[in-house]
């Protein structure tokens, strides 16, 4: 008995970041957000407000908050960072950035720095893959993860100069999406250029969009709708429908 007890306690600590007393099939959701200097001012404020609203909605949605685990990746200030809810994780941190949706507290983001979009996407893919491994080891199942990339610019290198290094992830992303390892949404906002749009199209051929202004709230609601569809076991056509509704049904004040 004593042996048993000790073993169980070890198990519990080891997977401490996966909520105990909840064996729901998980839905990992990664927000991969541009926080480079071009987002400063109203855009980053809008984003912060939208994250707060969304967190509240997630808490209130008993079905999503039961199963969704949220992680945030930002690219801008300090290069590429991961956030465990409102806590920015130090580089090389062993902690998982995923937080159960009902406990998700949004980060307070500042806009500064360069647009390491490629590196951010690679990090997002890596944390998704690590999370899956961790879940499988715990005998927990997962829905297809969702990654949502949001940017208003072009990928740059560490000195802020535009770079073509994003081309290296295109084949990786294509293969991963083909293998249904995750669903990627690539969203351009604000003053993103046609060149920037091309990058997003290459990343996510079906699920890319250029939105007027900074409708982060609607964007996050779309992510929730997509998560609900995933829980329902919907077919690809449903996701396309949700996405096209999101792209076309813009409030009047934005047009």
């Amino acid at each position: 008995m004593r042996h048993n007890r000790a073993r169980n306690r070890t198990v519990r600590t080891e997977y401490a970041d996966i909520e105990f007393e909840n064996n729901a099939q998980r839905l990992p959701l990664v927000l991969c957000l541009d926080t480079s200097s071009s987002m400063s001012g109203p855009p980053i404020q809008t984003l912060n407000e939208a994250l707060r609203e969304w967190a509240r909605e997630l808490h209130d949605d008993v079905s999503l908050s039961h199963s969704v685990d949220v992680a945030v990746v930002t690219f801008g200030q300090q290069g590429v960072s991961t956030w465990q809810g409102s806590r920015q994780l130090p580089p090389q941190s062993p902690d998982s950035p995923f937080v159960p949706a009902h406990a998700f507290r949004p980060p307070l983001l500042f806009a500064e720095g360069v647009t390491l979009m490629t590196e951010a996407l690679e990090l997002a893919m890596w944390i998704v893959s690590a999370r899956k491994t961790e879940l499988r080891r715990s005998g927990l199942q997962y829905y297809r993860p969702q990654i949502c990339l949001v940017t208003d610019g072009l990928p740059t290198d560490g000195t802020g100069h535009p770079t073509d290094n994003w081309k290296r992830v295109v084949p990786v992303l294509a293969a991963e999406q083909q293998a249904r390892h995750f669903r990627l949404y690539a969203i351009g906002v604000g003053g993103i250029t046609p060149r920037g749009e091309e990058v997003l199209q290459a990343f996510a051929p079906k699920f890319n969009a250029r939105l007027n202004g900074f409708p982060f709230r609607q964007l996050l609601q779309m992510m929730s709708a997509s998560a609900t569809a995933e829980q329902k076991g919907a077919g690809d056509e449903v996701f396309e429908k949700i996405f096209s509704q999101f792209k076309t049904q813009r409030p009047a004040w934005e047009s």
Binding site: V11, N23, A24, V62, S63, H102, R136, S138, G233, A234
Partner: protein, 381 residues
């Protein structure tokens, strides 16, 4: 700012600007000035077949015009009127609102955090047993009236503070119009509750409802553990409930086939008669629909169990089946440090408060009377 204008049974109403909930197929809106009702609007024109279905449903009063008892909510969120746009086009329907905080999706019972948040101090195992009974009772009577629930899941059943349940998405049920003979199939399903034959594209049947019911009852009685949880050994592709159902792989029956979910509650918390039904449903019954226990079988087994539930002498929120000699929840608390059914464990030796019996006793008595009536009706039907 207000939302769109629709006509509900001829009456002009204004919908809220933003939906309460929006999915792939439809969105649900509150009605300005009518807090008790909501309107479901399809994203795309629903077409004449859906309209005929709705009109036919409006003439039906399923489950015999229940409830009989004023404390109980209706068990079905049945459509109350069609919704038309100003041009007269059929766009959706109105129904009663079953919203939070009074009505909570069943899935809220499936994790400790949400049980504590939504049902503080009442969602013990005895409560869960009662919810299972209500679910089996509702399903049995739907089946007796030749209605198939079809899209049966923890998301479209809500439960109230007394453990009464209401099924929400009635517009998707499968039935045959007794007058015209037209069959209205169920087009919707939820992967985690879909029997293999439904995953393969087959129609919704009583047997597919029986599969979903078995999964739901098992989940409720184990505080949220899906019987098709776990990750197959030596597989690195998918790891979903849906795949395990398709592969007929339940750890309840064949634990050796999967990495069992960590922190799983042992299936033996189910009393033997219920566990035997679970074994049939998740073993032979997965691929052999007629072998699945019917809703009535579940109802009989649950009815037998309810009077003999025990309450832990140390912690009043710990209740368990009479087949167990000791409280399984105290054992779990000792092993994991987590109290499945309570916020704060009481120190040993704390006096145990009296159980609150008034309402429970009335409810159980009412339920037993109704059950007897149903059994009588069924016997003579």
């Amino acid at each position: 700012m207000s939302g769109r204008v629709v006509f509900i049974g001829g009456e002009r109403v204004v919908l809220a600007e933003n939906p309460l909930k929006s999915g792939g197929q439809a969105a649900v809106f509150e009605v300005e000035g009518q807090p008790g009702s909501v309107v479901k609007i399809y994203h795309e024109p629903p077409g004449p077949e859906q309209e005929r279905r709705l009109c036919r449903m409006l003439t039906m009063a399923p489950l015999g015009g229940r409830p009989v008892d004023f404390t109980q909510q209706p068990e079905l969120a049945w459509p109350t009127a069609p919704a038309r746009d100003p041009g007269g086009e059929f766009v959706g329907y109105a129904m009663r609102k079953f919203g939070e905080p009074e009505h909570v999706q069943l899935v809220a019972l499936f994790s400790r955090a949400q049980r504590l948040r939504m049902f503080p101090d009442r969602a013990d195992w005895k409560f869960l047993l009662g919810v299972s009974w209500n679910l089996a009772f509702m399903t049995a009577r739907m089946h007796d009236e030749d209605l198939v629930i079809g899209d049966f899941s923890s998301n479209n059943v809500v439960v109230d503070r007394n453990g009464f349940i209401t099924f929400l998405d009635c517009d998707s049920i499968a039935f045959t119009d007794p007058v015209s003979g037209e069959a209205f199939p169920c087009e919707m399903h939820t992967a985690d509750y879909s029997a293999p034959e439904r995953q393969a594209g087959g129609p919704a049947t009583r047997a597919s409802d029986d599969f979903a019911l078995a999964v739901l009852i098992y989940q409720i009685l184990t505080a949220g553990n899906h019987p098709f949880g776990g990750v197959l050994h030596d597989s690195d592709s998918q790891a979903t409930v849906k795949d395990n159902i398709a592969a007929s792989c339940s750890y309840v029956v064949r634990p050796e086939r999967v990495v069992i979910p960590r922190g799983v509650i042992d299936p033996s918390v189910l009393p033997p008669a219920l566990l035997a039904l679970a074994h049939r449903a998740f073993g032979l019954g997965v691929t052999n629909p007629p072998a699945r226990p019917s809703a009535r079988e579940w109802l009989v087994a649950l009815t037998q169990e309810r009077p003999s539930v025990r309450t832990c002498t140390a912690r009043p929120l710990h209740s368990y089946g009479s087949h167990l000699d000791a409280c399984p929840w105290c054992a779990r608390l000792a092993a994991t440090g987590v109290d499945t059914f309570g916020a704060t464990p009481l120190p040993d030796g704390t006096p145990v408060p009296e159980q609150e019996w008034g309402l429970r006793a009335v409810l159980i008595a009412a339920a037993v009377i109704v059950l007897i009536l149903v059994v009588v009706v069924l016997t003579y039907a």
